[in-house]
Amino acid sequence: MELLLPEIGLVVFQTIAFLLLMFVLAKFAWKPILASIKEREHTIDEALNQAELAKQEMVRLAAQNEETMKQARAERDLILKEAKTLKDSIVNEAKQQAHAEGAKLIEKARIEIENQKKAALAELKNQVSTLSIDIAERVLRGQLADKAKQQELVAGLLKDVELN
C-alpha cells in the first residue's frame, strides 16, 4: 500500500523538473527540430513537385519539338513543291519566251530576206534596164553609124509594121 501513496517531496521535484525540462526542450529542441523537419519535408515535396513539373514540361517540349519538326517538314515539302512549280513555270515561260523570240527573229529574218530580195530584184531590174538601154544605145549607135544602115533599119521596121 505504501507504494501507492505519492511522496510530497518527489511530487514537488518531479513537477518542477518536468515542467522546466518541457519548457527548455520546447524552446530549444522541439521547436527548432520540428520546424526543421517540416521545412525539410516541404523542400522534399517541393523538389518532387518540381521534378514532376519538369517531367511534364519535358514531355510537353518533346511534343512541341515533334510538332515543330512535323511543321518544318511540311513547310519544307511545301517550299520544295513551290520551288518545283516555280521552276517549272519559269522553265516553261523561258521556253515559251524563247519560242516566241525565236519565231520573232525568224519572222524578222524572213522579212529582211524578203526585203533584201525585193531590193535586190529592184536593183537587178534597174541594172537590167540600164544595161538594156546601154546595149540598145550601143547597138543603135552601131547600127546608125551610117546612113544606109539607118535606112535599112527603118525599112526593116517599116516592113514589120506593114506585115502586122
Binding site: 507504494l3 518531479q14 523538473a17 518536468f18 515542467l19 525540462l21 527548432p32 527540430i33 523537419i37
Partner: protein, 376 residues
C-alpha cells in the same frame, strides 16, 4: 508494426521454459531437504548464528521503493542529503547519519528535533525506545504511528530524475544543434537516431489523435514520451547511474497524469463539456450518465498514472522475485533456471519500457484529442 510471427516463436519457447521452471519446484524440495540435513550437521560444529530468514516480499518492495541512500556494491552505500521541512524550519543532514539503520534504532538530532528512519521513510522519533530498542511506535498492522516531517530530500529517485533531465537536455539539445548545423540536410549521428522517434510521435501519436491542432501539444507529448522512455531504460540498468525505479513510482506518474488531466480540461471545448453534462440521450438517463461522465474525467488520468506505475513496478518485482528465488531456496542450483528466466523477463522489460512510454503518450494525445475535437 507486425511482430506476431516473433511473438508466436517466443510464446512457444516461453511455454517450454515455463514448464521446466515449474518442474524445478517439484525437484528442488528434495535437493533442499538433502542439503538441509548436511547443513544441520555442519551447523552443529559452527558458531550458533541468528538465522536471518530471507523475506522475498520485503526484498522486492525495498528495491522498487525510493531510498535515502544509494547502494553501490557490497556494503558500500552512498548517503544522500536529507532535507526536511519542520515547524522549526528546514533541517538538513546526510542519510548516512543513520548509519544504515532502517528500524528506528538510530536517532538523528537536528535543530532540537529527533528523527528516525523506518523503511526508508523519516519520522519524528518517539521520546522513549520500545522493547526492541526502536524509537517508533507501530500499530496492529505494523504501520508506524509516528508523525512525519515534510520530506524534500534528494532521494535516489530525485537524483535519477535530475540525471534523466540532464541526459534528456544533453541528448535533445545536441539533436537540435544537428538541425542547426546541417540546415536542410539529411540527419547524421545522434540526430538520425532520434529523428524517426520524433517523427513517430508526430505522425503516429499526435496527428492521428489531434488532427490539425497537433502542433500545440507536441512539446508535451514529445517530452513525456522521451522522459518516460529514458527513465524506463535507466530503471533497467541495475547499477549506479540507473537502478532507481523512477517511472515505477506513483509520485512521478501522478504528476505526469495530472499534467495530462490539466491539458485535457483546460483545452476542452464546448463540445467536450456538452458531452459530459448534456449528452445526446433521453433526459432521464442523465441521472446515471452525467455522474459516470464526471467520474470519467478523473478515472482517465488515474488509470494513466496507475498503468505506468504498475507496469514498470511489476516488471521490476518480477525480475527481483526470480533472482530472489535463489535466496528463498538457498540453493545455487535455482540460478540455472531463475537467471535465464529473469533475463528473458528483462528482455521483455526493454520492450515494455518503450511500449509504456508509447501508451502513456498516445492515451494522453487521445484524451486531449477528444477534448479539442471539432464537431460539425
Amino acid at each position: 508494426m507486425d511482430c506476431s510471427h516473433v511473438f508466436d516463436f517466443k510464446v512457444s519457447r516461453l511455454i517450454v521454459v515455463f514448464t521446466l521452471f515449474l518442474a524445478f519446484f517439484f525437484v528442488t524440495p528434495l535437493l533442499y531437504a538433502q542439503e538441509d540435513t548436511l547443513k544441520t550437521t555442519e551447523a552443529a560444529h559452527a558458531e550458533p548464528e541468528a538465522e536471518k530468514k530471507f523475506n522475498l516480499g520485503k526484498f522486492a518492495l525495498h528495491h522498487v521503493a525510493d531510498s535515502h541512500s544509494w547502494h553501490v556494491f557490497g556494503d558500500y552505500t552512498i548517503g544522500l542529503p536529507v532535507i526536511l521541512y519542520t515547524p522549526a524550519g528546514l533541517v538538513t543532514f546526510n542519510a548516512s547519519d543513520f548509519h544504515g539503520d532502517d528500524d528506528a534504532k538510530v536517532v538523528v538530532e537536528r535543530a532540537g528535533q529527533r528523527f528516525v528512519s523506518v523503511h526508508d521513510k523519516i519520522y519524528y522519533a518517539s521520546a522513549q525506545a520500545n522493547e526492541h530498542g526502536a524509537y517508533a511506535e507501530h500499530d496492529a498492522a505494523g504501520k508506524v504511528k509516528n508523525a512525519r516531517p515534510l520530506d524534500f530530500s534528494i532521494t535516489k529517485n530525485v537524483c535519477t530524475l535530475l540525471l534523466s533531465v540532464v541526459l534528456l537536455l544533453a541528448v535533445f539539445l545536441k539533436v537540435a544543434n544537428g538541425y542547426k548545423v546541417r540546415k536542410g540536410k539529411s540527419p547524421r549521428g545522434i540526430q538520425s537516431w532520434f529523428e524517426p522517434l520524433i517523427m513517430f510521435v508526430r505522425d503516429d501519436i499526435a496527428i492521428p489523435n489531434l488532427g490539425h491542432k497537433y502542433e500545440r501539444f507536441m512539446p508535451y507529448l514529445l517530452t513525456v514520451f522521451f522522459f518516460i522512455w529514458f527513465n524506463n531504460m535507466l530503471g533497467l540498468i541495475p547499477f549506479l547511474p540507473g537502478g532507481a525505479n523512477l517511472t515505477g513510482n506513483i509520485s512521478i506518474t501522478v504528476v505526469l497524469a495530472t499534467i495530462t488531466f490539466l491539458l485535457v480540461n483546460f483545452n476542452g471545448n464546448k463540445y467536450y463539456w456538452k458531452h459530459i453534462f448534456t449528452p445526446d440521450v433521453p433526459w432521464w438517463l442523465y441521472i446515471v450518465l452525467v455522474p459516470v461522465e464526471i467520474i470519467g474525467i478523473f478515472t482517465k488520468p488515474i488509470a494513466l498514472a496507475i498503468r505506468l506505475f504498475a507496469n514498470i513496478t511489476a516488471g521490476h518485482i518480477l525480475v527481483l522475485a526470480l533472482i530472489g528465488l535463489i535466496f528463498v531456496f538457498n540453493s545455487v542450483f535455482v540460478s540455472f533456471v531463475s537467471v535465464p528466466f529473469a533475463l528473458f523477463i528483462y528482455g521483455i522489460e526493454l520492450l515494455v519500457a518503450f511500449i509504456q512510454a508509447f501508451i502513456f503518450t498516445i492515451l494522453s494525445a487521445l484524451f486531449i484529442g477528444m477534448a479539442v475535437e471539432d464537431h460539425h
